[in-house]
Structure formats: C-alpha cells, structure tokens
Amino acid sequence: MEAAEYRLQVFINCPFDRAYRKLFYAIVFAVKHCGYDARSALEISDAGELRLAKIFRIISACALGIHDISRTELDSRSRLPRFNMPLELGMFLAAREFGDAQQRAKICLVLDRAPHRYEKFCSDIKGCDISSHRRNPETAIYVVRDFLRGVRPKVTLPGGKFICRSYAKFLKTLPAGCQEVGLRTNDLTFNDYATFVARWLKQTEDSV
C-alpha cells in the first residue's frame, strides 16, 4: 500500500450494537471530517472470508487505530463479556510490534468511558495513551479530533466545536438523504453511513 494512502486510514474498533451506535456514528463523522478514511470490520460482508483474516487485512492497511474498550458489561443473554475489542487492540499492537517499517509506524488511540477505569480490567496497557469519551458523542468527537491533530501536526484541522456543530447539522439532514434512497436512518450499514457522511461533507467542502 502506498505510504500516503496508508497514513490516512483509520481502523475503528468498537462495539457494533445499537446502544453504542451514537458514539460510533460520531467517531466515524469526526474521522472523515478530519480528512481520513474510516475503516471497520463491518465494511465487508464476504461470508467466504474468515472474520479474523478480514480484520488482519484491514488492520494492516491502517496506520491509525481507534480502539474503544469501554464495553465490559456482561451480555444480557449469555451473561458473558465481549472480548472482541481488547482482542483487536492486541492485534493492532502486535502488528506495530512485529511488523515491517510501515506497520511499526502505527499509532493508536484507546478509548474508555472514564479515566483510569481500564486499569481494573486491562492493566497491561497502562502507559498507552488512553482517553475517555464518557459515553458522550461530543466528547468522543473532541477526543478523536485532538488525536488526529496530534498525528499530523502540520495539517490544520477544524476544531472540536466546529465538528460537533457540523455533526448536529448532518444528523438533522440525514433522514432526508436516507428517505431519498428508501432507507431508514436506523437501518444503515457502515458502508451506507460512511457514504452519507462523505457526500454531506463534500457538499460542505464545495460550498466553502
């Protein structure tokens, strides 16, 4: 993969359930607003490809990673916790540790819902840069924006408040866009949502 392309790819590792959707949507919006590509394990629905292989492939294509390890509750049915997010964080960190020069340049942001909470369930990552979103989409936007600002200091990014305002406007117009192609806002796939965000932001860019 070309270096210029690679450094703009952001792997988003987070819960995919309905309860997390507001945060996920806000993070994807912030990533794209800052000029990066949002990548997720949700983007491919090829049943023929092993899920783990798919995740490895996407991780290897991304210089950046945003990993949310805040979902520690037990599943209401199985009464067991979900380990996918810490596992994928581990895969990302391993790629950085053992990969080639390009892979070693990986940078990641780890998110939890409160500062220092992770120390009680994943203390080995102590020392990594961990931020908290406090389950608030606006806070998540600020945190993601500041992380991406730090990654490429020479590129001027819009401020957190500006992105939050854009996101509020986008959410108000999203139902109209969905309706036009016969979709419901709650039924969007990751690919659909990413396309809506990109088209909306393109219009903003064109009107400036």
Binding site: C34, G177, E180, E205
Partner: protein, 60 residues
C-alpha cells in the same frame, strides 16, 4: 509552524453500495435539507430595545 492545509474529504467510493444515480439523489436531498435547515436557523431580527437612560447620581 502549522501549514494552512485543510483536510480534503475522502469519498471512499470502494465502500459505496449506491449507484451514481442514487448518489446524485442523496446529494440533491442533502442540498435541499441543508437549505431548509439554514433558512430555519436564521434568527429573526430583534428589535433593539431603547437604551435606558442612565441615572446619574448626584451628591445631595
């Protein structure tokens, strides 16, 4: 020193499952909704209240 380079929004056409026609429809719907939103969010002109006359305290 930070440059003034602003990020360019990346479209990720590889992700899109929409046809070009649908993309155009989405663009059109967004444009329309944004225009309506912009019209609604323009604050109504407020009539400026006349300034109160300042009371000047004088020494008795």
């Amino acid at each position: 020193m930070a440059s003034t380079t602003y990020p360019v929004i990346r479209d990720q056409p590889n992700l899109s499952r929409f046809t070009m026609e649908q993309i155009e429809q989405i663009d059109k719907a967004f444009r329309k909704a944004r225009a309506a939103f912009a019209r609604k969010s323009v604050p109504a002109a407020k009539v400026k209240a006349p300034a109160k006359e300042r009371r000047v305290r004088t020494k008795r």
